[in-house]
Symmetry: C2
């Protein structure tokens, strides 16, 4: 892979670049065209990421803005709530940020979603640059403009579509990522293979050891392939009126796990990994994929080190939570289901079938 690789998200006036590479985080070339000599940048990060990258990033931004601030929030999904978004807005107000200010989201999915939502709401929208430092954020949440906070009744229930001005995905930043979080990010990488590109799925099968060993070239290629698929889907369906829903493979089950166990108990990627196993099984029951294909999906998820056995939770509770999913219509649960190698579709699914799939995936008592 050349360094850096640039992938374009094509959305007319809201088009933007995703810069992927080693040490791109503070390379001046990554930031070309960003800045305002009489306005400010606010780097929003968390207390785990800040010590590694906040100073480096601030030094690169200093010549581009009149003022550069850093706001480090507490780390964790539990902080993806309104009060944190409000803290970001208050910091912008305190610094007198105007409409040409830029919010820089430096961190994982929680920071990106939160800072993106605050940027969407501040004065009805200011620029946001996403600098994802987790694999999950690099391959998924930083691209496509979905921003959100959680509500006790459901994940990401409050949010906005607000496309970033740029995404800067530094592969080197993944070196400081705890292994558990890296593995969780692989769930979203595998997702793209299942629903959109079987040759990429095969590539992951072949290169899983290199990915898990932290091989920068392999990881860079996985990020590039993932965001190319995401960029293509988002360009075709920015607001998730159709095709974009496919990117939610594994997520209806996954969100139920997260909400049911309390946010942050399982990582998002872990819940999605287990959710994809459930989704593949449901697909198989409906005759959309062969048992062999469903097993192939389960095998890769398990090999990556992701959970393939459901947590202890009654089927009634699962269904209650799944009915809150944003894809549900009139109380009917709709699932993304693989319907062949590298292909998926969305269908309303009978609750009896869902119940039976959940029960068959629980650990033996």
């Amino acid at each position: 892979m050349s360094n850096p690789v640039v992938v374009r998200v094509d959305l007319s006036t809201r088009s933007y670049d995703i810069v992927i590479g080693v040490d791109v985080l503070d390379a001046p070339s990554s930031w070309q065209g960003i800045g305002a000599a009489d306005s400010l940048a606010l780097i929003v990060t968390n207390t785990s990421v800040a010590p590694h990258y906040a100073d480096r990033l601030a030094r690169t931004l200093q010549p581009l803005f009149a003022e550069v601030g850093v706001l480090a929030l507490a780390d964790g999904e539990a902080y993806k709530v309104w009060r944190s978004a409000e803290l970001i807005i208050e910091e912008l107000l305190r610094r007198g940020a105007d409409r040409r200010a830029t919010v820089v989201a430096l961190g994982g999915g929680v920071v990106g979603d939160l800072a993106g939502f605050a940027a969407a709401c501040y004065m009805r929208g200011v620029d946001c640059v996403q600098v994802p430092t987790t694999l999950l954020a690099q391959v998924d949440s930083s691209v496509g403009g979905k921003t959100a906070i959680n509500h006790p009744l459901g994940k990401n229930m409050i949010g906005a579509f607000h496309q970033p001005r740029r995404v800067i995905a530094d592969i080197a930043a993944l070196r400081t990522l705890p292994r558990r979080e890296f593995v969780a990010g692989l769930a979203e990488v595998i997702k793209y293979g299942v629903i959109a590109d079987d040759s990429f799925f095969s590539w992951i099968e072949t290169n899983l050891a290199a990915l898990l060993a932290g091989d920068a070239a392999a990881i860079g290629y996985a990020v590039e392939c993932s965001v190319r698929i995401k960029a293509c889907v988002v360009s075709a369906d920015e607001r998730e009126a159709g095709m974009r829903e496919l990117l939610n493979f594994g997520h209806t089950f996954g969100h139920a796990i997260e909400a049911g166990l309390g946010f942050g108990n399982w990582l998002h990627g872990e819940a999605v990994g287990c959710g994809m196993v459930l989704g593949a099984k449901a697909s198989c029951r409906l005759g959309l994929v062969s048992e062999e294909q469903a097993l192939r999906i389960e095998r890769l998820i398990a090999s990556a080190g992701l959970p393939v056995v459901t947590p202890t939770m009654s089927a009634d509770r699962w269904l209650e939570l799944m009915r809150h999913d944003k894809k549900a219509r009139g109380g009917t649960i709709r699932l993304v289901l693989p319907d062949g190698p590298g292909s998926g579709k969305i269908l309303p699914v009978d609750e009896g079938l869902i119940r039976s799939v959940i029960e068959s995936t629980a650990s033996a008592p």
Copy 2:
């Protein structure tokens, strides 16, 4: 005027109609094309408006949705805060609202801004129909998709652009409006005349008595002319990147009055009325309009019963608040200024001049 009049806001896929007329609020024809047999409508209103119109409206909506709910919030600008938006979102979650739910904002500017913002954020955006019941909301805030909540450091600092699905402006609903609020709404009507249409300004001068007497035909015509101007400006500049800023004539001063005295002390329209007097004076000092034209503007505002003398507030405090204005750039205050009959432009303005205009408009000690 024919009944109803329909004005179109042209925004490609987000285009919508403004229906203006007597008793259009619950006329089935006003709601044509709205509805979802397996989703719900939530009427968001306040405790002052609900007794007059909520039941009538709910009866019209019942055949169009699987479920119709009513949520009546406390009345007043003081409630235009996050907690109220959250109450709306919680009611939607409690009722299991999906992405095809419709929020119906029944009330004045506060209800419209709040319900519109909640609709913008709920699952990243559901439909909102605006049913404005105050003159101010009918001629201004219900049209154009600006939604927001307040922050102690500034009005409308947190919000979203979220175009409504339709606006239904019932002239008959203004009969129950307190006179003080009706007069406040006239400020925005006069604003359109000043910055966009001198013949409309003259019409208001001639027909002010009929408007103040509650003549439905005159009021209907004033609403129609106002929204035609607003629809044209919003179609050209949805996100306020240029021309739309002109609609803020009087608002930089006005927002400072509102924030300085505490929201709800002066009505928004009263603050804008006084703000337009200040703006016209600033324009005159800069040689953009004649003294006669500035006086003509002040005379109409005074005749309408709007305040033309500034409240007691130090010039330093005025300037501090005005620097927070969303149009400010790099700390420089920018004002919309009339630059001829029916015409305006936006300019950075020296703080010394602003200070002198404010001091000359205070009541004699």
